[in-house]
Amino acid sequence: MDGSGHGIETLAALTARDAGMVGCRQCTRVWPIGTEVCGLCGSSLESRDRTSLQRVFAWWLVGLLFYIPANLYPMLITRTMGRESDATIVGGVIELAQYGAWGVAFIVFFASVVIPVGKFIAIAYLAMVVRRPHGHKPRNLLHLFELVEWIGRWSMIDVFVVAILVALVQFNLIATINPGIAAVSFALSVVFTMLSAMSFDSRRIWDEIEIISEESSK
């Protein structure tokens, strides 16, 4: 079992569970199955997280609920010379594009629209696959989970942009910027989807990948 691959993707492997052991996800040590607390780092041990999917769906749903008002209500309230204008998330992107700042418009669009929507779909898809693992290509699942877990935090960009603008643009009469209620619901939505992705037990995805690859090699 050496780490030097020969260009072939190893999909089946001897897991801690196969060997009658339980691995610690914090410090990577293995212990006999049934051990409840890791003897090295003190984390609680569980071979597979049984309540994982319930938590994934619960956080997912709450995240989705908060994402709706985040798009409907204003994110920024700008007051210039007594005139007040609101901008929603998508409105802010359009405004940036009108300035000709296409690159930045793209970043904001990607962080506040593509990532959250993509994440809702990806998490639901993964949770479904773990329940009924038939007819899926393992290779597609391999990195989808890692991507979802890594990319979710980047949605916070828009919330930080609002915070910076509000702190900077306070010229009393001439121009002031205030946060809208969407900033709160968007931030909450990002937090809840991050919790949803974190509740996933990636080892279960790998169990399914192993089953699928065994089925297809028969």
Partner: protein, 206 residues
Amino acid sequence: MTPSDNILCCPVCDALHEVGEVPDGIRLRCIRCHTVLAVGQPEAIIRIVVLAVTALILMSIVVFYPFLELRNGVFTSRASVFQTVMSFSEGVMAPLSIAVAFFVIILPVARLSAIVWALGPLSFDRPPLPGAKTMLRLAETVKPWAMAEIFMVGVAVALVKLADLATLSMGPAFWSFAAIVFITALQDTQMSKYSVWTALDMASKR
């Protein structure tokens, strides 16, 4: 059966690996999911601690010195990171202010301090401080919620949005913050769960 020190289990996919001494400069990846499992770097612990201390010092500059300055004719406004954090502090937005404070300042500082507490004594060949294990676990838990680098991208976007409204200049805190983001990224490349925990384990057994 007692678990042996040279068997490790991938935290992502549960595959077992047998490892001996990890050669210098080698990153050991999981055979299945390619997660980095161990980093063969004898000075890794010292580097991690030095980088964490540097980032902590820079953080103290970041919080209170001006971060960005906005000029529009005779009007000038300055904002420190602290003010940015407080920008939601009115009314219903208050919880968001607290959240931003956590993401941008409190959690990054907590994580860096926890790392220094847990691994600092090890780099001087001293036994670990009490609670070192709890601190190291804390550092790992907090990791996804420390969003300093995302805040930096937010700054870049804000700059573009304000470009034609006023002239912007960066204060000292801006550059320290940029340095922190870079240092933290560098530090993460040196850190692997297996190597760090092995070092802590060996130090506490001595």
